[in-house]
């Protein structure tokens, strides 16, 4: 049985179900109690699961992330919320040096089964410090599992898996998708981490995209006289390149669209993986499309200028032929 719910409702369901399922799951962050989270993602959870398991914190990402690390090593499964993904930077040492490295430097003696929940992405006029897509920052540090969510179905299934995974997981929902509706099963389900999925089959060109860019790519593809295969990587690190490589083997063309900036963004990494390992599958050079190399401006007119538009994606897909 499926029904239509919003992306943020799917997230709230995932959090609620995991709190219900496992007493070791604890959720904390700024304003997660009565306030219900910035996007409504924790609404009702404090009331239902109580102040021990759903907790407000003081305003410090250093404390939220650092404490999550210790709590995870100590044997519980924290879901630590950063209000905006940009704040990965305000917990820089914890996010870049501590969490992803402690399991490794301990020779595998420590495990840190924690989830950082951090809404990312541009489009709501939130400005340069509340709009970034950070999966290239985080994916650059081995040790993090980096997960995004493109649909309500993904959001629920992937968040539940992230909470259950024994690695540190950086889970990045997109704030522009909060109100998007989609089909989500009534029944319990999870989705595998580390696996890309072919969302739409096609013969002419492989387009890889997530989050808002996935929906824009889908729209762009619908207007083209081309048979587009759409791939949603779901997990950026570690990246399942096999599914993408298989697709390129079939189509011979690759376009990667992502909301990280083009300079050292994830688009370049994905394209490079295919160029380096599957060069002879390609009939021409891949195309990468991302946010222009500027901070995200506030004015909607400026903001939409720097984000990949449906038009730019459409032109990008056409350009590989």
């Amino acid at each position: 049985m499926t029904r239509e719910i919003t992306y943020i409702e799917a997230i709230a369901e995932a959090l609620g179900e995991e709190l219900e399922r496992d007493d070791d799951v604890v959720l904390f962050g700024e304003d997660v109690e009565e306030f219900g989270g910035n996007f409504g993602e924790t609404a009702g959870l404090h009331e239902k699961y109580g102040g021990d398991r759903v907790r407000n914190t003081p305003l410090s990402e250093i404390g939220i992330a650092g404490m999550a690390l210790g709590a995870a090593v100590g044997g519980i499964r924290p879901v630590a919320e950063l209000q905006f993904a940009d704040f990965a930077a305000t917990a820089g040492d914890e996010v870049f040096n501590q969490i992803p490295k402690q399991p490794y430097v301990s020779g595998g003696r420590l495990s840190a089964p924690l989830t950082i929940f951090a809404p990312s992405g541009a489009g709501i006029g939130a400005g340069a410090q509340h709009s970034q897509s950070v999966h290239s920052w985080i994916g650059n540090v081995p040790g993090w599992v980096v997960v995004t969510a493109t649909t309500p179905y993904d959001a629920k299934g992937l968040l539940k898996s992230s909470i259950r995974d024994d690695n540190p997981v950086f889970f990045l929902p997109h704030k522009m998708l909060s109100e998007m509706k989609g089909e989500v099963p009534e029944e319990e389900y999870t989705l595998p981490l580390g696996e890309s999925v072919v969302e739409q089959e096609g013969e002419d060109v492989t387009v890889v995209a997530t989050q808002v860019m996935f929906h824009r790519a889908k729209e762009a593809a619908a207007d083209l006289d081309l048979d587009v295969e759409l791939i949603n990587p779901r997990t950026f690190a570690p990246l399942d390149t096999d599914t993408i490589a298989e697709s390129v083997e079939k189509t011979g063309h690759l376009v990667v669209v992502d909301e990280t900036v083009e300079r050292y963004g994830t688009q370049g990494y994905i394209a490079n993986e295919i160029v380096e390992n599957n060069f002879f599958s390609l009939d021409g050079p891949p195309k990468t499309i991302g946010v222009k190399d500027v901070p995200i401006p506030v004015s909607p007119a400026l903001e939409q200028e720097v984000l990949p538009s449906v038009k730019r994606i459409r032109a990008g897909i056409k350009s590989v032929f």
Partner: protein
Amino acid sequence: MAIDEETSKRFLREMLRIREFEDEIKTRFQEGEIPGFVHLDYGHEGTHVGMSQAMRDDDWLAVGGARLVGQYVAKGVPLGEIMAELYGKSGGSNKGYGGQMHVSDVGRKLYGHAATIGSGQNPAVGLAFAEEMKGTDNVAVTTIGDGGTSRGSFHTALVFASYWDLPVVFVIENNQWAISTPSSALSPDNLSDYGIPHKIPNESIDGSNVETVYETVSEAIERARNGEGPSVIESRVARLGPHFEGDKQTYRDETEFEEERELKDPLKNYRKQLLDDGVVTEQDIDEMIEAIRAEVQEAIEFARESPEPEPETAYENVYRTPLYGQGE
């Protein structure tokens, strides 16, 4: 708090173990057997031993500061495992992935160090939180040096520990030097004063006296176990050696340094105290040292004979696989 003779002897033996072990590390480093940097604990033995003897085995120790080896010893990690880790060998506590900065032993509840000094205190608060959520009365003790107290992360840890009233004891081992920056130039009279704005019980003590440290940390742990929240203790010691082996210490006043070595050596002072009080004889101490030296030699042999890690193991332990939902 009366300290019985057996306990006194244990304090002395543990301090001797640290000293003898580190003397050997120093020699092995000088002879090129140990890679990287070596930071030794001279002057810190009393604070390490006093603190760890106040703990139960199932309390967490989240080590910090730069003087770490003595803390690993005091938490009960076998000397051979520590030595092999310093050698970067596969028999090391961390199989060669960690080195002297990252010895961790979850089984003994030793949390690995944050080598970016001052970033280990929030994880320590998290460890205390986990114990509380699990309904135990275990506590987390975390150490930091004077230098690390200038990091915002240290202050955040105080905010969080206080906000949730968690069972954590912050021990600031103030050896007066953040490499070459003197702690006397920092504003607080005592670094434990950083607990004051958070209304956390705080105290500054002579950390070169093992019994003083034991008593003060025991009281703080007792409060934490009883649900009375965190404490901040400044344990004042002298750094009786360089920051790392090879540091020429041009920034230190020679006369003062000599004076400290004369007056603030925790091992020398405690040894004299126990001899004066008739708790031990010179012969008892010689026997202790003889046994410890044998243990240290065994540790060296273990480290030397332990194989180098297989190069391909560099790719292990990055992720626990399969990831959730993937096939077995």
